[in-house]
Symmetry: D2
Subunit: 462 residues, 4 copies
């Protein structure tokens, strides 16, 4: 394979270096974008008369042919090339001879790789947004279909207060919504066209960068050539946002795993997202959820990789930056698959509302309500809290629930207790009392579902 | 110290737990925000008649007094308290007795701490934006004052092409500009009012969350109580953006350290940002730059800390989340100081343009220009690249510079070389030829400085 | 405060730099070791006649006085000093005047800080080993006291096979045992005396490094001065080993939290390691376990901090390395406290064997045993696994346990089932069948406890 | 492809799950070890009469055939299988039918994968040790061949004191020596045989684990089944040690990059480890060193990945743990290649002693020596330091070197200066004065090289 350099060298690079320096195994993923970028570049070189229109046409047409061949599956990227740019130029050379050498006029691999990565990432961000959208739709559907289901709400993994299962689903809806916002914000910083920065200083050819940007659907061009080829902020920011998405997925996975345990038994995952054991015939394991939780570590690792790589690098391009691709591509792969699988799991699990209801018995999760009752009768909250704490302790020792106490029992703890207290203690009553905005009452949740649906439909054309 | 809980417990927590569980050493930083939040909350409780207007007035007034005392330096947060919320409520209790117990009506420490952190972070983000702004102004001033200075531009730490020193300064200007954009974007997600989510489910009191939000200058209220108390995205996103800021600072620091070395000698840092050696009397070390570079590791570590802490936590609040404060406060401290110190270093260093000029001799950084010359005469770039590569190799072997070759020498490599080639080889000529948008020509850089100044002035009222 | 350098400088360092560069807030922890190291150094300077015996005696005696004052609480490290070395030398100067200037002969702060850190870490490693030892003793006691208790053993958080609760406790015993081995191994690499490397190149004074090493109880001296002052491997290795310890503690904590949930209810943590809620009177939260789990993130962050700091630093000392102290000291603090608290939690929890027993009903965790039964009768394991898989599916559909099936029912699935199959299905029978080395049978576990006790007693004199 | 489970399932896993859950793409690397482990297991099953000797022989012989086919390149692992264990068992089934089902008696994939990974890692650790050894030999050779070369020694990247270039090479020798020690220490913890732990609880078959351990050359068997299948400490510890190796390589790479810059020009890297630029014909970039420095980030990321994955996982096996393979295999690949390439670079670079010598002029790196001169004449070190600091400042202002000062000039700063001071100021004199153990004098370095050679030869049989 011909290299794009070498006149000044007396010796070939060593064989092991050849393997080590090569990025082709990863950046072949960029073939499409590299070619599209080259087509736009060649077109512009023609329009600005840096090369002739004939040359320009010949080059762009041949590049289009190469792309078609690849997309038809008739041409595979050769893993012997140093990188994707070299491969494309060599391929062009095979077809049109030395004229291929005109393509690299007024550009460098330094601005070219930045272009390819930005084009790739723009496309993938939109894919990921769509998958987040789908997951949100699944959450809304599940929330709608289970509106009556009450579950124990937890803090510190202890029963705290009853909540609607749908409210819990919506909590994740909002987390993923922030993720989409973050992606939209960072998209602006990806959507910047670097080509024309050349190696580091710009070029003396009368190029037209705005024309290339327009051709490739970029919103703006980069403003400083040195910054442009030394910058990988846009990838790091994407890896950061991805880490938060995975964080959300890991928390959801953790809950699915807990809920699938014999002890919780809140849901049953569908067979299609579980596997068995090679030794224990009874096992049905929540593998999909575990794998998503595990992949979280990989994405955090990818983020740390690129932060470490870029730390303290002097301007402009350094070869260390080649290490940006593996973390980027791997993270995109993980995100897309995890989002699809999470949607599938949520869509197909069975909700065991009976087990949730049973869990609410004897759990004292109505204790706050009891304290609030006293407050509404005039007690200071601190004092009410103390009183109810003692009632709970008494119940535990007597192995009773609060509901099983008589009004007389309660009155021994405070005279403000009246008969009406009995109406407020059921899980349903507790849930529906939480009318504050964002609270878990059925009315609130119904309203939230409606608004969320509208939000999704509005977003659809982003 | 009185705790905010305990009725249900038979035993005190162990002494070592007392130390371990306490967050007061960190969250005393939040005293101001905790009190302001409580004032707004108490005001709302009065307006909605959940407590009487008298109670509300009494509580808010006393809280204001406490805040004044703290700000006057007459009251210090007691490190024996479990946390800042407990301390404030105890302080209130000392002053107004049991009525203090009414303040905690309709809220929990879970939504309260989220509120405090968001108020704190909103204030600090604006501080950091201002410091980024100042640093950018310094960069512009330095760029303006050194417009004629040409330095070697580097890729792979090898001389690549000459660039204006001012162009290099502007590269950082744009990096910090993206940092500001990121902060602005994430600010929207910090600027969400969580109070009223209570422990996890909302509350049954007829609270008015919009009123509290308005009082505390929040743009919107959180939409789901479970999400609201389990969410630390806003801190992680801040730590991510901070990591990128530190990345930029670490790269700049690395360059300042390189440039201060005897070998480069491109700048001299001011004595006020250097220290000496306890053993070597001649030493003047670029400590400030080294420390900033070192602090980068700390901020990356802070990011990994919180990502790890939050991974796979089930909803809603878990005590692990207390570990968010140290990384947050520490990162804010580091950022603010590093930005101030970087500004100081840049503002006071001496630029040694002579050493830069000398570095451009014999470095062949005009070789690309020579290749482009041939291209403009009609050669394909690939071929021109090969020709010039051979010329460079010849010069190295003959210990000559390209400028020292005669036109005859050059013509032996290619007939297209004519007398006019001699005009394009000086660093100044090379620099000024780079007229493409974002390139390093003097005209471009002058324009860029003007535009950057306007950008800064426009931003001032954010 | 006097600095240890400055003759060559024309200007003071800027005020903010003073704060930023100062490490005294952290390294005051090293005061004791700095002084002990200086005493040994001064003693050696006297013996080798580099200073007079009188000077040596005066200096060492005064340093001892200073140390006594500190230890008696009569002298506090002044936070205005640049670092601990400067503070000690200034203190000495106050007491004996200019003779104090002789102490710094033949050494530098570069080798001095390396010495201090190594002395500190040697002491702390032994402390941590002791705390690991105590935790192991607690585990053994709990294992011994609960020998009859059978619990569900989990994989994928699904019931897999019944195991002895004591076997589970011993699993952690062995994890912590590996941790101790790791600490012992790395101790060898901490126990190397760096003083005498001076700034980076050694010294021209006729010092005696072996004498200092012996005085300070080091096993060997460092072999290369450049390596010696540029090396922080010993801290990184300690942070790595600490990360694994925290990993183990986080897994144990996760289990304690799960087991404390209403759903599992396997244990009850003692009140002394729990706290309550400011709003929900019934709450008793497993805070200690959550905090330990959370601190894990901090230690991982500390590790990443130092790895990032040290990455790509040229030799020898760079100021970035000052960032090693906070992660080191913080990690030591966390480890010691987490180990004490974990011991306390384990020692005091109540084991609810009834809940565990109940959990084993209907969980099919004897299914492997059933398959093994068929294998022992001659079936290939793969086939047996299939047969039992079908039996389990049938039971789930019929809402039966395997024990509830008649021998006829079983024989419909395979003719090899005979009456004797009924004896092997109880949790106790399943557990005690696991006689392979390291397996969970009661006999094995009793033996393991005995061996573990001997191992601990043998180790005691390390 | 047949699965090793499924009787209990009513539905196939979804297609995307099939891709997601599969680990075959990575663990095909383990084929050899999986088969060797199975051979040992089957042999033991025969000896203990759990299966018949005939069955045992048939199975082991067929497995050996499969291994031979793979090694001969006639059989490739099929990427459709769920994992390597499934693939091997299916392959066996194709050849011997249902008898293959007997192989999985008394084991689980949980203990099997732990076995495979440990066998793999044992082999690779020895490979890495050998490569570290080779690198050390290269360092010694370079140290020996350049004994007379003096270079500026740096702290804070400022000239500090002159050192022998060979001394600098030896500094890395010792760093890599510690790395080897670490690997040796952790090898003990890898060298533990887990098979027989079965799924988590051990097995009821009368297996002989010591026999398997012996067959597979393990030093000991694991002591607790639950610990054994839940443990990945040995991989994390390896990744930690690898991170430190990469840290050392990154520091060395940084120096090679610096030294290759036009400004330093201390070495010239061989063409075989450099590449050029697609646009700048003169460029020769230190790619190999940059790539090694970059790969450091990847290894740190791998460490963080596995730490994050394992954090807070309850016992015993969880599917998250599948994420251990990619970081492990990738790290091994990186380490081996980086070590080979670093050896190659060092072996072939040209040392430019002239540039180093030139660098020592005017750098005041003999200032410490001058201060020590005064001390030896009786001045306190602190005072001497001040005096020399002033001399340096004077020289800078006068643009003179210390050597250019007359004895009268010096005496104006202190009367103790005598004629003999002129003998101690040359780089050679300064270097050779550093006679303290571990110091940079020629005598010391010669001795160190000899000892290092002996150390390597002694180690060879490890």
């Amino acid at each position: 394979m011909k290299k794009l350099w070498g006149g000044r060298f007396k010796k070939e690079i060593s064989e092991i270096m050849q393997v080590f320096v090569s990025s082709i195994a990863f950046d072949k993923k960029l073939a499409k974008f590299d070619i599209l970028g080259s087509i736009a570049h060649a077109g512009m070189l023609g329009k600005t008369k840096i090369i002739t229109m004939d040359e320009s046409d010949k080059i762009t047409q041949t590049l289009k042919d190469i792309l078609s061949e690849i997309e038809a599956g008739n041409l595979a990227v050769d893993s012997q090339s140093e990188d994707i740019h070299t491969w494309v130029e060599n391929k062009l050379n095979e077809k049109i001879g030395d004229m291929s050498g005109k393509l690299h006029t007024a550009r460098s691999r330094n601005d070219q790789i930045a272009l390819d990565e930005r084009m790739y990432l723009k496309e993938e961000i939109i894919e990921i947004e769509k998958k987040l959208d789908s997951l949100q739709r699944v959450l809304l559907a599940v929330a709608k279909n289970n509106l009556g289901v009450i579950m124990p709400g937890y803090t510190h993994l202890q029963h705290a207060q009853p909540v609607l299962f749908s409210h819990h689903m919506l909590a994740y809806f909002y987390k993923f919504n922030r993720d989409k916002d973050r992606l939209k914000d960072l998209y602006k910083r990806v959507d910047v066209m670097p080509l024309g920065s050349a190696a580091l200083a710009g070029t003396s050819y009368p190029i037209d960068r705005e024309c290339v940007a327009k051709e490739l659907s970029f919103s703006k061009i980069s403003e400083n050539s040195l910054d442009s080829v030394s910058d990988r902020d846009f990838i790091i920011e994407f890896l950061s946002a991805s880490s938060i998405i995975m964080l959300h997925l890991s928390r959801f996975s953790e809950e699915l795993i807990l809920w699938s345990s014999q002890e919780f038994n809140f849901i049953e995952l569908d067979d299609s997202f579980c596997t068995g054991s090679s030794i224990m015939p009874q096992k049905k394991n929540p593998d999909a959820a575990e794998l998503i939780r595990g992949k979280t570590g990989k994405v955090f690792g990818n983020l740390i990789t690129l932060l470490t790589v870029m730390k303290a690098l002097p301007l402009a391009y350094n070869h260390d930056m080649q290490e940006d691709k593996e973390p980027l591509f791997n993270t995109v792969w993980i995100l897309k698959n995890c989002l699809i699988i999470m949607s599938g799991m949520i869509e197909t699990f069975k909700v065991n509302s009976g087990a949730m209801r049973k869990g609410l018995k004897k759990d004292f999760s109505n204790a706050t309500e009891l304290a609030d009752y006293l407050v509404k009768k005039g007690l200071a909250f601190r004092e009410a809290h103390q009183v109810v704490g003692k009632i709970v302790l008494y119940c535990i020792e007597q192995k009773k629930t609060i509901e099983e106490l008589s009004i007389q029992d309660l009155q021994e703890y405070h005279v403000l207790f009246k008969e009406d207290v009995l109406n407020i203690l059921s899980p349903k009553a507790v849930v529906d009392s939480k009318m504050s905005e964002g609270g878990t009452s059925t009315l609130n949740v119904e309203k939230a579902i409606k608004e969320a649906e509208e939000k999704l439909n509005y977003n659809i054309n982003w």
